[in-house]
Assembly symmetry: C2
């Protein structure tokens, strides 16, 4: 079933707000096995909306429209869709009732707000349409079917759209869809995008069902393996040998096979499994590694303390980096990274301490240590290993790469045998 | 000049990533005075890409395409655009050189990485195209002109796209535009979006030239005042009284009137001006505030140390929070925030310490302190002020809001008279 998304609204068109609805709906469509070919954004302009809706209904079976259902003059999605599909608008008694109840409640909460007559335009629906109650706002959603085409109209605010989609639209579409799509994610770190691409080129060339799609993230590559079949079980059967092959090719570099699992979650899970505690000593990343770790719910079990030792004084006082090290080798040096990691372990009494010190730019680079030079140290079990990296790009990019690679480095260190001291 | 955005990539089409590029580019187009009518997303499918690019070039003067310029077989944007425009691909010597240098640098960093031949397809360009160097990745951008139509091809990763757009595409488009558009940004913090909207409703209703467009960011509202005229001088003259009016309405809540100035930059500038040093004691934000501060080049002058005291032990040991405070009031309490800020100042010997402690969820909420409860403390000049916040949303969203509001709170504290002790 070919599906298409149309977001209506000048705020999205002109970039005043980011179109998160389309990402949400697209993921749901993929989950439902709908073939999504296009997403379009169009402003609140009558002629261009008409053109867009016509084109969409011509080339797709299901068109999901979001936004433009509100009470204002600019809100035209319902009117134009009804016109394009050749259906008159009639008042829906149930919607009118709900609208009255909602608006009275609203008025009670805020004496300044009054019910305006244009609110009632929200109770008008195309003849024969299925009306979807809106429990979080005033504009009802609509499912309109005619001549084998379906238009689904949903309110723009995500907190109105999402529950309506999940409660009513998802089950409706599931019933319409005979085939199931199922996909499995394989997430890889510590190897570059083009190397991954080359190593799976033969698989991609042979692929039909399932397909493999690579996605490059900073410091990570995600491979999505997707199968189409009559049941989820059948899909899983198709996917299994492909995932097995990927596992044999990328081995330890695979940090997750779950859709939503992040690199930081993989690291936190490993620490939990091995009952290890972590501290961080960050200079150029400035708290960004800690921030990613803390984004994992329950990270507090293993992540005890982070230190952002941005000044030399802080490196000395908080981590015990030697004055002579800073003087002779500088703050961005193998020796300093080592002392930071060692000192971090000592001060925080954690099993592991990861340290990062580097030159993020734009200033501070030298011929020997250009901008992008970063040293990372990892102290565990009495040993400290240090690695040198060279990143490119602007300050933000260098910091982002340092953060991603630090997590991958930490993961490698844990895998290579961190164990509690006896 | 009619403009259109086309984002290419199955990843965006299927909702694996949110299309933030389109929001960014749409805002830039508005700033340039280009008439943006459509945004489309299409997957990595040859036929549908061809149809989309043809339609876009038919109905618009300038088509900005993003994504699909990488080294993999799936990356087809350049090839298909060249085909639709009837131009052969030729190797660009300069791009080949840059690519070689970039890849060698990359290889040097990591002996595991090898240059793969498919990388070189990125040096092939449509004949006569203007090549835009990519300083943050391998795929160059392209500007292709033919028969009065312009196609602009940009890499998909935002950290490659944005600098390329700002350095090369923006000035290029500015030259093409006969009328001058000039805009001035007014950035506001410490007031909510709907309050800002209400306070400028009269201005927005009257507006014609200049216009005021509000953009809601996390913890900030940006108002872009845009004028169209024959010269920049004329534009500035039109904008001046409107900006003056906004300044009189929002006063101290305006933290910047420069396009690129961030809230953290405003804070770092204030600290530098007043020769004040800063430390941070973060719990639920987990280093995210430090990370934003460190993103300001030269922040090291004022930001001496950050502490991510995620565990109770770290709060006690590093900041001297009392055991009794944690026991009686809990780590998320006014008293704990106060002791964290005070302790931070004492330990780091900085003039100011900002502390944040809260419940980011998904667990840990109670009836008295639901998920989203956050306390922030600021200690300066011997005084400590604490503020309580209640945020909504998931863990990431609560942490993001906490970080943004912490910077705004810090700014308010500095403005209200932080001064060095004599």
């Amino acid at each position: 079933m070919i599906t298409e998304l149309v977001a209506v609204g000048t705020e999205i068109l002109l970039g005043n707000i980011v179109n998160t609805n389309s990402a949400y709906l697209a993921e749901k469509c993929a989950q439902l096995g709908l073939s999504l070919y296009y997403q379009t954004v169009v402003g609140d302009n009558e002629q261009r909306m008409k053109d867009t809706i016509k084109t969409a209904l011509d080339r797709s079976d299901v068109v999901i429209l979001t936004g433009g259902l509100g009470p204002t003059k600019d809100d035209l999605t319902k009117e134009i869709t009804a016109e394009v599909m050749g259906l008159p608008l009639v008042e829906d008694a149930h919607s009118r009732e709900l609208l009255d109840a909602y608006l009275k409640q609203y008025e009670k909460n805020d004496a300044q707000r009054r019910i305006t007559s244009n609110n009632y335009k929200q109770a008008m629906v195309p003849q024969g349409a299925l009306v979807l109650d809106n429990h979080n706002g005033t504009a009802p959603g609509l499912i309109i079917e005619k001549n084998g085409k379906t238009a689904i109209l949903l309110p723009g605010p995500p907190n109105e759209l999402k529950p309506m989609f999940e409660e009513e639209v998802f089950p409706y579409l599931r019933k319409k869809q005979p085939e199931i799509i199922y996909s499995q994610m394989v997430k890889i770190c510590s190897i570059g995008e083009s190397q991954v691409a080359e190593e799976i080129q033969d698989l991609i060339e042979q692929q039909s069902n399932p397909t493999i799609a690579p996605y490059a993230k900073t410091g990570e590559v995600h491979l999505r393996v997707t199968a189409k079949a009559e049941s989820e079980k059948e899909c899983k059967k198709l996917i299994k040998p492909v995932v097995r092959e990927l596992k044999s090719r990328f081995g330890k570099n695979i940090f997750a096979t779950e859709e939503k699992k992040t690199l930081e979650e993989a690291v936190v899970d490993m620490l939990k499994d091995q009952k290890l505690t972590l501290s961080l000593a960050e200079s150029c990343t400035g708290g960004a590694i800690a921030s990613r770790i803390v984004n994992v719910p329950g990270a507090s079990e293993v992540f005890l303390q982070g230190m952002v030792t941005y000044s030399n004084r802080a490196k000395r006082k908080s981590l015990g980096v030697k004055k002579s090290t800073l003087k002779m080798h500088g703050a961005v040096s193998e020796k300093c990274a080592k002392e930071m990691a060692k000192g971090g372990c000592f001060v925080t009494k954690t099993d592991i301490c990861l340290s990062v010190t580097g030159i993020a730019g734009p200033d501070g680079g030298t011929k020997e240590k250009p901008v992008g030079t970063v040293f990372m140290g990892c102290c565990y079990n009495g040993k400290t290993v240090v690695r040198e990296y060279h990143f490119t790009g602007n300050r933000a990019k260098i910091r982002e790469q340092s953060t991603a690679h630090a997590l991958a480095f930490l993961r490698e260190c844990i895998m290579e045998g961190v164990s509690k001291k006896d």
